[in-house]
């Protein structure tokens, strides 16, 4: 294996090259741009053989991938924030068509106000579209996950599109030594072969036509089932990857020092690596804390969460997005998943890191200490670290 020092964005570009993506269509948006620029370099230097379509919008980027997938070509795109929101309608089309598209997402806050910094509102807002969602915590994981994503997406039982998320700047523009697996080994892991469920000039069929109330529901049920089935395939793809390349990531909900923990914090994205340091520190101080990372948010790891909940006193959730519900998006789903479990830990949601606000070790330490104190009846949700408490905010003329 060759170690190359690269950003999270280049990890996406390298992975799409290793996967031999046959059609790439993308549109620039900060902080995604360097992914596409690198692919352009690969193509112009002849290192990568792909149809690289420089579309006029993210919306068209997604449609190019959807139509390419309809013919059975392996496709890749990447975007961020506003670009992802612009694709929203087509994300349903991709999943409904069972198009195994892989899309890199650089999580960036949404406007207004304009912001290029990270939070997860953009991809959380796509949770109901039928896409599998991975959130990464290192550049190495980005590269490895894009390859795993192809394995999962193209599994004949799954055939769903996959988003591979990385936090803006924390990963997208930060360099790290990344192992680039040899091409032959990647080819063996995800061989390029055309699916039989595609448009075929010799056997004319139609894809995507309308269905009446007599069968539409069954069709959607089949898509829903594919998402459920993907849990197993995601774990297998991760283990298989581990056997071949020596790295795996613990499936949907990797945990850290949770075995005897009193309280566990559930994080997503890069806040998770920071949280591990904080866990080690607090452990040294004798506090029994652990960490679980939402590596995969769709399909939702409800079994893993229920297992975790059975042994802890409290679960805290760090939500780096806000979905205008009664609490953060992850929290509401975690709480919902525990509704039917016998052992219900106390829960608290920490909304923080919005719009690129740093989630520093101090922030997470504060959250852990707060969580250790949580009692029955306490407030279950808090915007953590607001600079000016709500009551002080005045609308100045």
């Amino acid at each position: 294996m060759a170690k190359v020092v690269m950003t999270g964005n280049y990890a996406q570009s390298y992975a799409s090259k290793l996967a031999r993506a046959q059609v790439v269509a993308a549109y620039p948006i900060t902080p995604q741009t360097s992914i596409v620029e690198k692919i352009a370099d690969f193509v112009s230097s002849g290192e990568m053989e792909t149809q690289f379509i420089k579309v006029e919008s993210e919306h068209s980027a997604m449609q190019v991938c959807i139509s390419a997938a309809a013919l059975g070509a392996r496709s890749y795109t990447a975007t961020s924030s506003q670009g992802l929101l612009l694709m929203h309608e087509l994300l349903f089309w991709a999943a409904g068509q069972r198009a195994p598209i892989i899309m890199g997402i650089i999580n960036r806050a949404v406007a207004p106000p304009w912001s290029i910094w990270t939070d997860h509102t953009d991809s959380m807002a796509q949770r109901d579209t039928g896409w599998i969602q991975y959130y990464c915590e290192s550049n190495q994981e980005v590269l490895d996950t894009v390859l795993q994503a192809y394995k999962v997406a193209e599994d004949p039982e799954i055939r769903l599109p996959v988003m591979v998320m990385e936090d803006a700047f924390y990963l997208s523009h930060t360099i790290e030594a990344v192992d680039v697996p040899p091409q032959g080994a990647v080819d063996a892991y995800i061989p390029l072969k055309r699916s039989p469920w595609v448009l075929d000039i010799e056997k004319p069929t139609r894809m995507g036509s309308f269905m009446g109330p007599d069968i539409y529901m069954e069709y959607r049920y089949i898509v829903a089932k594919a998402m459920q089935e993907s849990r197993k395939v995601i774990v297998e793809a991760d283990e298989d990857y581990g056997r071949r390349f020596g790295r795996s990531y613990g499936g949907l909900l990797p945990t850290y020092r949770c075995d005897d923990a009193d309280v566990v914090l559930l994080t997503i994205g890069t806040a998770s690596c920071t949280a591990k340091e904080v866990v080690d520190e607090l452990r040294k101080e004798g506090k029994k804390v652990g960490l679980a990372r939402m590596r995969v948010f769709r399909p939702f790891p409800e079994e893993e969460i229920a297992r975790l909940a059975s042994s802890v006193r409290a679960i805290g959730v760090v939500d780096r997005s806000w979905g205008f519900g009664y609490a953060g998006t992850m929290f509401t789903e975690v709480a919902g998943a525990l509704y039917k479990s016998k052992s219900k830990p106390l829960m608290k949601d920490y909304i923080t890191g919005i719009g690129g606000r740093d989630i520093t070790p101090q922030v997470l330490r504060g959250i852990y200490l707060d969580l250790l104190k949580v009692r029955e009846g306490d407030e279950e949700m808090e915007w953590w670290g607001l600079r000016r408490p709500e009551k002080e905010v005045k609308h100045n003329a």
């Binding site: 309809a70 139609r206 036509s209």
Partner: protein
């Protein structure tokens, strides 16, 4: 042995569910006759997303992809990209979209596709309104027409804006080939689609497709109207190859537009004054086209 002036092969099954007298149904039939079986069609939301039948049936004998309303230009780009990536060479890619899907919501994807000179045909079947959703105005609805959103129940509530010229727009992209066709003239129609098929790069066909329920006339008059539209110069037939305009049908004595307008319920509110105005506009456009035909010989893409 009967002699056919257009290809005999049928790539549209009978039994589709278009309205009787649907011009769009004839357009897709003639289009596929010209393109042949090695064709892949992309269809957005429009009447033909519905009329070719519900899953698992289809009225088309060629592979067909249904897509979102606004995506046709991008969809045919993706199909072509995949064929190129897979090394499939001899297949024609065509997008079959309505006037709304082309001139309104899909114009961005269309513009992008032509600007990239994607090797595909974009076929706009123009019934001059959003028919699938029940006859609402589009930017291709002609001046003076009634639609459900231009109700014409009072002065000035009909469509007060002129029809958008998609041909001018696509030619401004320096498209290799663009042509107008009418289902009233199948030989001219098929010849142009065959010509389009033989050219590499982006190609655009604008088809005049009368629609009985949308235009408020009786279905047996579809062909008559499709011819009258041309013979009144309301919808001139021409092609633009490498920027050079060529009018392919010049009525020796154009019929007055009144004949065309008078047979359609959507124009029945028009006063003589307005009809005179439409006549004047029609004559002007026709003269402009004649001028373009002359000038573009020496100055291709003269619209810049």
């Amino acid at each position: 042995m009967p002699r056919f002036s257009i290809p005999e092969q049928e790539l549209v099954y009978s039994g589709h569910v278009a309205c009787p007298g649907c011009g769009g149904g004839l357009a897709i039939r003639y289009m596929l006759k010209a393109l042949g079986p090695r064709t892949i069609v992309s269809i957005p939301a429009c009447c033909w997303a519905i009329t070719s039948g519900p899953f698992p049936r289809t009225a088309l004998k060629v592979p067909t992809l249904d897509t979102a309303f606004e995506t046709t230009g991008a969809s045919i780009s993706g199909l072509r990209a995949a064929l190129d990536a897979l090394g499939m060479k001899d297949i024609t890619v065509v997008g079959y979209a309505g006037d709304g899907g082309t001139a309104d919501i899909g114009i961005q994807a269309l513009s992008g596709m032509i600007e990239r000179n994607t090797d595909a045909i974009y076929f706009m079947y123009d019934n001059e309104a959003y028919m699938n959703t029940g006859i609402q105005r589009s930017s291709a609805t002609p001046f003076g027409a009634w639609t459900t959103t231009t109700p014409a129940d009072m002065d000035g509530t009909w469509k007060t804006e002129p029809k958008k010229s998609m041909m001018a727009i696509v030619v401004a992209h320096k498209i290799p080939y663009a042509a107008t066709v009418s289902i009233g003239f199948p030989e001219d129609f098929v010849r142009k689609v065959e010509r389009a098929k033989s050219i590499k790069g982006s190609r655009f066909i604008h088809a005049f497709c009368p629609c009985p329920p949308g235009w408020k006339y009786s279905p047996e008059n579809t062909i008559k109207l499709a011819k009258l539209g041309v013979n009144t110069n309301v919808f001139p037939l021409y092609e633009v190859e490498n920027g050079v305009y060529k009018i392919t049908m010049k009525p020796s004595k154009p019929r007055p537009v009144k004949e065309y307008l008078g047979t359609q319920g959507r124009f029945k509110h028009l006063t003589d004054e307005m009809i005179a105005q439409i006549q004047e506009r029609t004559d002007k456009t026709w003269n402009n086209l004649l001028a373009l035909e002359g000038f573009s010989k020496e100055h291709p893409y003269c619209g810049l």
